[in-house]
Amino acid sequence: MAEVKLDQVEKVYPGGFCAIKEMYLEIHDGELMVLVGPSGCGKSTMLRMIAGLEQISSGEIYIENELVNNKEPADRDIAMVFQNYALYPHMSVYDNMAYGLKNRKISKNKIDELVNEVAKTLELDKLLGRKPKALSGGQRQRVAMGRAIVREPKVFLFDEPLSNLDAKLRVQMRLEIKKLQKKLGVTSIYVTHDQVEAMTLGHRLVLLNEGQIEQIGTPVEVYENPQSLFVASFIGSPPMNLMEGVINDKKELVIGNQFCLKSNVLEKTETDSKITVGIRPEHLYDSLGMDNSFRMLVENYERQGADSFVYGKIEGCEDLITVRYPADFYCSIGESLKISFQSNNLHYFDTDKGVRID
């Protein structure tokens, strides 16, 4: 159990490409911190730097208050679960899990005890004699985790461990990982590009974009209070509706031809500045009792099991809006729908800088 701290850490590749820009991050003891972002945002690089598999260009990394910049991966007391599991194909499940322990010169009896205990927890005890190629994807994943757990490290590192599993298995394993981490209480850093995984697994999330941290917060915080356009559009499925508009001389946000929004938030803006307003699909309704509304021209309509999704545009505005309705809702393409919402469900962002302004 340890806390991990990154202090002004930077990673620049020879040739000049800056993968990680001056990052400061604190991960609390025992928490599961998820690093999430699109491909190429630097999350794997960050994980590998913490593991010691990538060199840091500048800055310091501390594990349990100890500076580990110059420590070899083996000496950092960490364990890692790789995306493709990286199981040793020529060794049995037992040997795979025992390998790290053997390297630390732990007695054979103790190794036996530890491996069997972990195997039992992960329901691998009947598979100990098998080789990786005789295991299913889910079983291999559990062996990879078992290998990490048995080491009793200070920090667990997960590098997109569920990407290679099919959807159903992924959901199952997600729950198991969450349960396991809670039980063991080991500080864990989990990298994924899947925002559903991020939202369900993490105590806190770090949203990364192009090597920079966009926001750190709990899933709820990040969902309800995105600090930037990137976060707003990345978290949430279906994603938040974002509409670009311009401030007129009455400090109103004009979207499209006619839709005007007034708000205290907009008092400090300048005329002609570009503001983007966002609202989540589930906060748009067709009923009365809301304090505001707009008219939308329906372009498309999808029925997806328990929900229906209607896609349309406000007249004069090119941004596509998604509204979620119950399954039995019906409308026709070209129809003009009145969409209602509560003003306090709106999020305002500066269009060019991408940051939240309210």
């Binding site: 598999l53 060199q55 070899e72 991966p73």
Partner: protein
Amino acid sequence: MIENRPILDFITHIVLIVGIVIIAFPIWVMFVGATHEGVRMVQVPLPLLPGDQFFINLKTTLLGSGLEGTKTAPVWLMLLNSLAMALSIAIGKIIISLLSAFAIVYFRFPFRMACFWMIFITLMLPVEVRILPTFEVVANLGLLNSYAGLSIPLIASATATFMFRQVFMTIPDELLESARLDGAGPMKFFKDFLVPLSRTNIAALFVILFIYGWNQYLWPLLITTDRSMYTIVMSIKRMIQAAEQTPDWHIIMMTSLLAMLPPILVVMTMQKLFIKGLIESEK
């Protein structure tokens, strides 16, 4: 990058450099020997640093009439013979292997499998296990002392055929179907599709086969009795034996250098192709 300890990197480079030195040393000795005068080359210890006679020795070797008492042909002639042999073997082998692989993969005909196995058997019959009888056959066909005799017996072995067969197997069926719809007959398909698609494999194989052909020793030794047909690789031995009487070591070393040079140049300049050819042909 694990273990970013500079000391480990340093050791790695040292080890590799030492390895290279050990590997390169014999060639270096040869090269040095080729750059000195004959007189220097009989004084012990032999030199380790190059002399200044490179071009003079080169001229003497290339244009001279061979070593006294060695009964070999002029070096330039032998180089030519080697070139002819290497090219014939490489090109010949590629052509007939392409044709055979094409037939076996794309045609159904009686005895197809019999042909396949027969070609397969050649893998197990290197020339060294059948030297006498093969020599007899070649002699009976009157092919001794000819370029044909030097190359034809060596061009039918299976590795190239198998390699092309594998390449053809990976070409999608849809290609043939759409070509056929476009009116292509078998030979057109072969010429317009299979051959271009196999280009890199052909090039890679050419490198390997050229080296194989150039370096042939036993076979040219047996079937050439006429001096003018000697290849340069086979002449080395005679030269060394003759050195007992007339130690013109500088000529011998220069000749060896010339004998080694073409394959080495080919490997160095076409390294990628060479490596690909090696690995592909062993599958």
